[in-house]
Symmetry: C2
Subunit: 63 residues, 2 copies
């Protein structure tokens, strides 16, 4: 399974946003929509800074 965990950088620390993320969509309005394998969705004002498939880790930063 390839689901990853999304974190957002706040003051240099990683805060959990959503686990088991399956789909990441970058909207043109500076928002990122995350969808988990359980269908849970979160849209936050951020952009994907880094994504490591090896570590199963998505790092977001506020826009």
């Amino acid at each position: 399974m390839c689901e990853s965990t999304a974190y957002i950088l706040k003051n240099g620390r990683e805060e959990l946003v959503l686990e088991s993320v399956d789909v990441i969509e970058n909207n043109n309005d500076g928002q990122v929509k995350l969808t988990s394998m359980f269908g849970e969705q979160k849209t936050i004002k951020a952009r994907v800074k880094e994504f490591s498939l090896v570590d199963h880790k998505i790092i977001l930063e506020s826009t």
Copy 2:
């Protein structure tokens, strides 16, 4: 294994950019750096439009 294949949208069609992508980094200068599991790196002027871990597919679009 979770490596994904990166494509860039050109005239509505998906063109292959890099296979077996392990790490995606979004630079602040509108460039995306992709690194494959074999250490191959590609930096292109684009942004991540959508990323589906289920389909192992990264869709980029030019910036």
